[in-house]
Amino acid sequence: MANRKAREFLTAAGFLLPNITGFLLFTLAPILFSLGMSFFDWDLFSVPVFVDLANFGRMLSPASHISGYLGNTLFFLIIVPLQMCFGLATALLLNERLKGSLLFKAIFFVPVVLSVVPVAIVWEYLLDTEHGLLNGMLVAVGAGKVAWLYDPFWIKAGISMMAVWQGSAFGTIIYYAALQGIPDQLYEVSALDGAGWWPKFRRITLPLLAPAHLFLGVTGIIGALQLFAPIMVMTHGNAGGAHNLIFEVYVKAYQEFQMGYASALAWSLFFVMFILSAAYGVYAAERSRYA
């Protein structure tokens, strides 16, 4: 019996070896290492110096500009509800199963496979002050030009718009799949009761999509707080008004080699992310209970 157990264990070890090596090397060890590193001052070259909580303390000083970066990070949360609303709206339209739905579906799903870099380049062009399509449209309707790429506020708005353009396709797919799972009988029964479109949507569709709301909300928050590539590409590396926490991690770690401070920043970002997604999770659970 002991022999069989030992053999089973060895088999399991064989199956797990490549997987667990990857997990240890590229997930668990880095987590522990960066946690440790956040208490040290280290420039990659000299001997690390233990500095206790100094890296975290440094964030609190105004010279670190962290409050501004945190503000920019939180600004991008606006992307999450926009993506969810747009994703849900498009999914509902597709779910009407009109003629030509397949074509529309193909169009709506496309952005999910596009690389963020070319999309950001295309959007940089759309948002160009002189030659951009968007300002062209604004001028056509009599409004003034907006300095999308240079104004500290509009750069965030522009990047958010791009993120919604690309990211809501993900929501469309998830909501569309979730809508398929709602049994038609529920709608038929409520139709017998004389319910119109809005009550059906409000009382049946929305509550039954709760798992999709939760999933898209949490992944959306995590994604929005980690927005990096579009900022890097559209501002050519200077970030300007879109300088968020993850951009600061990038600058400190890979340009200034302040590995300890960068790790402390990354963990603080994780903390913010954890609080916000947990809060949303609790909120979503409460909502679905009373719906």
Partner: protein, 318 residues
């Protein structure tokens, strides 16, 4: 469900509006990419090409545009120096100009970037299929001490954001002199807790009886994995493969940090360099963007089913 005519019309209008929101930026970029250099900012929705000849008495004569006068042009014929006013249609035609593509392709080594991206994404995809399926099988079918605890640990790490991981991985890669190598770009991608989780969930839905029957016939664990579990998991493996491939093909953050040698850059990183080198040269930039979006679009059109299924699997059930 019955729908009134008005409701149907409204639905179609909304669908058209959403399509426009998705398609217009794309069309605008495409049109810009085939505009003649110098005509990029003419603000028109069609690519006009200006010729430098004009037909005079049925003979093509070289000319130079002197002035635009509304919908007519004032041109100077190069032979006689004569000034003429000609209609716009004589000088401009709608026709795509592929020069931007040629320029983009020769300014930066796009061919090389393609190969790099393809090689790196392929290695990562194959690697993840192997490690995640082996691990997923162990977590779903084998019993060993600490199994559920380890699996829980895997799940817990899904929440950890990228930058927490990349700083130490960068240090590790530097320690082993793997910065600026393909290995450095590939190795961290060979494993994913997400993929392991995904395949474990799928394997758990395969009836145990099939496995027991094979075991009675004398098959070992590895035989069962290879001959029963894997063949029955085609859709899940295809979904994971498509998803991982597109994900690493599009990845920007890690490759941009680990790869610096111009010969080793991946497509997104190389394209971002082009963008920094030729700021405001939108004709070339749009051409470069189109070139780099084409493969993902092609994969999407060919494997649309797997892509969307992959999104749903990693999403709702994952």
């Amino acid at each position: 469900m019955k729908r009134s005519g008005i409701a149907t019309t409204v639905c179609y209008l909304l669908l058209a509006a959403c399509s426009a929101w998705y398609i217009l930026p794309f069309c605008w970029a495409l049109v810009t990419s085939v505009k003649q250099p110098g005509m990029v900012f003419d603000g028109r929705w069609l690519p006009y090409t200006r010729s430098n000849t004009i037909s005079v008495d049925d003979r093509e004569t070289e000319m130079r545009i002197v002035e635009e006068r509304g919908d007519r042009f004032l041109v100077r014929l190069s032979g006689t120096g004569e000034l003429r006013e000609v209609p716009r249609a004589d000088v401009e035609r709608v026709s795509p100009d592929w020069r931007n593509y040629r320029d983009a392709w020769t300014i930066v080594p796009f061919g090389r970037y393609f190969l790099n991206s393809f090689f790196i994404s392929l290695c990562i995809t194959i690697g993840q299929l192997i490690t995640c399926s082996l691990g997923g099988y162990a977590f779903s079918r084998l019993t060993f001490p600490g199994r559920d605890l380890i699996f829980l640990l895997y799940l817990a790490t899904l929440m950890i954001p990228g930058p927490v991981l990349t700083v130490p991985i960068y240090v590790l890669m530097r320690e082993y002199h793997l910065l600026n190598t393909y290995e450095g770009a590939i190795l961290p991608g060979l494993f994913s807790a997400y993929g392991t989780f995904l395949l474990r969930q799928f394997f758990s839905t395969i009836p145990r009886e099939l496995e027991d029957a094979a075991r009675i016939d004398g098959a070992g664990r590895f035989g069962v994995y290879l001959r029963i579990i894997l063949p029955l998991s085609g859709p899940a493996l295809a979904a994971l493969a498509t998803f991982v491939f597109i994900g690493s093909w599009n990845d920007y953050f890690w490759p941009s940090i680990v790869l610096t040698d111009p010969d080793k850059l991946t497509l997104p990183v190389g394209l971002a360099h082009l963008n920094d080198m030729y700021v405001f040269q939108y004709g070339r930039l749009m051409a470069g963007s189109m070139i780099s979006m084409a493969p993902a679009l092609l994969i999407y059109l060919l494997f649309q089913r797997f892509v969307t299924r992959g999104v749903v699997m990693t999403g709702l059930k994952g």
